[in-house]
């Protein structure tokens, strides 16, 4: 017997195809402005520059410092327990638990740790690249510094104090290196990060930290009590700072605060002009729980 499908079935099938159309629509952005593109190409190829901005030169003299203290306003809540299901004989030895370290609040003073603050663009730099190394260690299957900073060109000693092997993978840097048990390796950041980047271990996926590398080294990470100090900054000229926290809901992790006197923006930026030979204290900087996702 030969198959003889009724034409109405075929018609229904064809109709179905028509109704479905050409698959899920890809989302297209706007088209380029062809005339503007042609004009821009001519100007780029001619080597002439339209509207070049002259490099801003330093206007101030002397050096000053900046300090302050971040304080968490609200209840930090219980830290989540991480699922450590690899190398359990080390990572959950004797019932040890690992916790989410992305929000560390000092129980006594409510100081907020791990806030990063750095200068967006310094026109002058006082100190040479420090010779001492930044130590970035891991023990008991967690990174001992949830956030660390280094200057571009400064050596970072990536250590492993565990009896098991780890790998350290710094996002965006192509650094992903095996660190055997009890061993260490040196990483020298070659490029500045605009914002902190994540550091992970692929063998133990719950491990997470952040790193920030700055060309001028004008960067601080707030301590356990929330305090920070950046010394030897250029004084007498406006300096713009960027503030960041891992849990911030602001764009790119920028931490916006309600500080109209400093014109603190929602991107987490503010501007100050420092006095020479003294440390300008911003005092207590209150970070509401809502800014960090409750």
């Amino acid at each position: 017997m030969t198959l003889n499908p009724r034409p109405s079935f075929i018609a229904a099938g064809l109709l179905a195809v028509l109704a479905v159309g050409c698959g899920p629509a890809r989302v297209s952005g706007p088209l380029p402005d062809a005339a503007a593109a042609a004009a821009l190409r001519t100007s780029l190829a001619s080597g002439e520059s339209a509207g070049a901005v002259a490099e801003e030169s330093a206007t101030g003299t002397g050096w000053g410092g900046l300090s302050g203290r971040f304080v968490f306003v609200g209840t930090p809540g219980e830290r989540a327990v991480l699922v450590a299901d690899k190398d359990t004989e080390v990572c959950s030895k004797d019932g040890m638990k690992l916790y989410d370290n992305s929000l560390r609040v000092d129980p006594g003073s409510n100081g907020l740790a791990d806030v990063v603050i750095f200068v967006r663009k310094a026109r002058r730099v006082k100190n040479p690249i420090p010779a001492e190394q930044v130590v970035f260690d891991q023990k008991n299957c967690e990174f001992l510094s949830p956030v660390f900073a280094a200057r571009v060109g400064q050596a970072v000693d990536v250590r492993n104090s565990d009896p098991i092997g780890h790998n350290t993978n710094i996002s965006g840097s192509s650094f992903n290196q095996l660190i055997p048990a009890g061993d260490s390796t040196i990483y020298t950041p070659a490029r500045e990060t605009n914002m902190p980047v994540s550091v992970t271990c692929n063998i133990h996926p719950w491990m997470k930290a952040y790193a920030v590398f700055r060309e001028d080294g004008y960067v601080a990470v707030s301590a356990a009590d929330g305090s920070f100090t950046i010394p030897d900054l250029p004084a007498g000229e406006p300096l713009e700072f960027q503030v960041w926290h891992a849990r911030s809901l602001g764009p790119n992790g920028g931490l916006g605060l309600d500080k109209p006197d400093l014109k603190w923006s929602s991107k987490g930026r503010f501007e100050v002009t420092l006095e020479p030979d003294q440390v300008t204290d911003l005092g207590t900087l209150e970070v509401p729980a809502a800014a960090l996702g409750g």
């Binding site: 034409p7 109405s8 075929i10 018609a11 064809l14 109709l15 028509l18 050409c22 899920p24 629509a25 890809r26 989302v27 297209s28 952005g29 706007p30 088209l31 402005d33 593109a37 042609a38 821009l40 190409r41 100007s43 780029l44 520059s49 339209a50 509207g51 901005v53 690899k86 190398d87 004989e89 009896p163 098991i164 092997g165 790998n167 350290t168 993978n169 996002s171 965006g172 840097s173 192509s174 992903n176 290196q177 095996l178 660190i179 055997p180 048990a181 061993d183 990060t193 914002m195 994540s198 692929n202 063998i203 713009e240 891992a246 602001g250 764009p251 790119n252 929602s266 991107k267 996702g293």
Partner: protein, 419 residues
């Protein structure tokens, strides 16, 4: 009933099918819409405020057209370091030129998987595993250079010529060397273009208040600050080749394999953690490569935001983002570590290829670098062990199966046998 009207009806229905969904528009590059809505290197710190405005998207598209042209008329500034003649051979619709030479090679051979923009999202992409490479981040896995370096021209040539074993990437050995050269140049072009696009989109966040949300269009910015650092990395790839010491000719292969086995299972090279004690690729297997991880992180972040009482602006952004992900991103997939018992290696099966993979790791994938940790001689031992793996188990399967590794004396891991 007469069959005539039925046939007419059929013909009528077939007509729109044969003509498709309207006239074909001129080929155009797609904007990176996932990046436009979340221009951030770290996808877990994205927020609604970052999304580019339509005016900003137009500016990026316009700058890209000025610097790189269109799929039919590619263009490159001298600073890009690309060969315009090769690009023209590869680009545009498939056609023959005046001397009968085939033009439009990319659209003939590559576009259905890698897409017109090189975003790895051609029409067939979603059906392939692994997904085709998305060139736009400028990251390539199989190369002879250090991890953070670009592949050399010869590396990409090799991938096209040999194909990638175990993936859908076929060999194009039937093309002439000049044609493969042109395609390699075009892949570099799409990659440099994609990296430029990423850099431009991420720069909006770096703007100051007085820039009013508009990127400068000066030569200093577009060429010197954005394009040159990208092009320089491509130009310097040849200097970044991994130095590989010769494997000793009089090597005792059995001893080398035994040493390699010890290293494979030891806590120094630690291959066992991901590739598994059996080397079947069954260790740590729930990780993602960088391309999938970005999308995975975005999905997680959107879920978390949706649960945290978003305001109406955020809700709109989440909805728009879900639309973009549905149309412009491939479903993230975990990346299994290679099953080393099969003898199929994507980046090539020469001992040298395996040496490169172990030395530098695989950029874009979780595979870390052993460089500096494992001596070159030991890397050769691991290579020899890996090459022995497809030809039989070295020991009892049951003995190998004991996954629980215990820290032994002096911190060394000792595989223990299960009862």
């Amino acid at each position: 009933m007469n069959t005539m009207p039925r046939l007419l009806l059929l013909a009528l229905l077939l007509l729109p099918l044969s003509t498709g969904c309207g006239p074909t528009p001129p080929a155009s590059f797609r904007l990176n819409m996932v990046e436009a809505i979340a221009p951030s290197a770290e996808k877990d710190s994205i927020s609604a405020e970052q999304a580019l405005t339509p005016a900003q998207e137009t500016q990026v598209a316009t700058i890209l057209e000025a610097m790189f042209g269109t799929p039919d008329k590619p263009y490159c500034l001298p600073e890009a370091g690309l060969d315009q003649a090769k690009l023209e051979l590869a680009a545009g619709p498939v056609r023959s030129d005046i001397v009968g030479r085939k033009n439009g090679l990319y659209r003939e051979h590559c576009v259905h998987c890698h897409g017109i923009t090189g975003d790895g999202m051609g029409p067939t992409a979603a059906f392939l595993n692994p997904y085709p490479r998305d060139y736009r981040p400028g990251v390539f896995k199989f190369k002879s250079t250090e991890r953070s370096s670009k592949p050399t021209h010869a590396d990409l040539y090799r991938v096209l010529h040999e194909g990638l074993a175990g993936s859908s990437m076929p060999s194009f050995a039937l093309l002439s060397p000049a044609q493969i050269d042109a395609l390699v140049e075009y892949v570099k072009y799409l990659s440099i273009r994609g990296e430029t696009e990423l850099a431009l989109m991420r720069y909006y966040f770096e703007l100051d208040e007085e820039d009013e949300g508009k990127l400068p269009e000066s030569r200093e910015f577009l060429v010197e600050e954005i394009l040159e650092p990208i092009a320089d990395k491509w130009a310097s790839a040849e200097d970044q080749e991994i130095e590989v010491p010769e494997m000793p000719e009089d090597i005792d292969m059995a001893a080398s394999i035994a040493k390699g086995r010890e290293l494979f299972h030891g806590d120094k090279a630690n291959c066992v953690k991901c590739h598994g004690v059996t080397a079947l690729g069954d260790g740590q297997a729930n990780d993602y490569d960088d391309w999938s991880k970005n999308i995975y992180k975005i999905e997680e972040k959107l879920k978390a935001l949706a649960d945290s009482e978003p305001d109406s602006g955020e809700r709109q952004w989440i909805a728009e983002f879900e639309r973009v992900l549905a149309g412009d991103a491939l479903t993230p997939r975990t990346i299994p570590p290679r099953n080393l018992r099969q003898g199929i290696y994507r980046g090539g099966r020469r001992p040298l290829d395996l040496y490169y993979r172990i030395h530098a790791g695989i950029n874009g994938a979780p595979m870390p670098a052993a460089k500096g940790t494992v001596d070159p001689e030991d890397i050769w031992h691991i290579v020899n062990y890996i090459r022995s793996l497809p030809y039989g188990f070295d020991g009892e399967l049951g003995a190998d199966r004991a996954v629980a590794a215990q820290p032994g004396p002096a911190g060394r891991l000792v595989a223990t046998q299960e009862d």
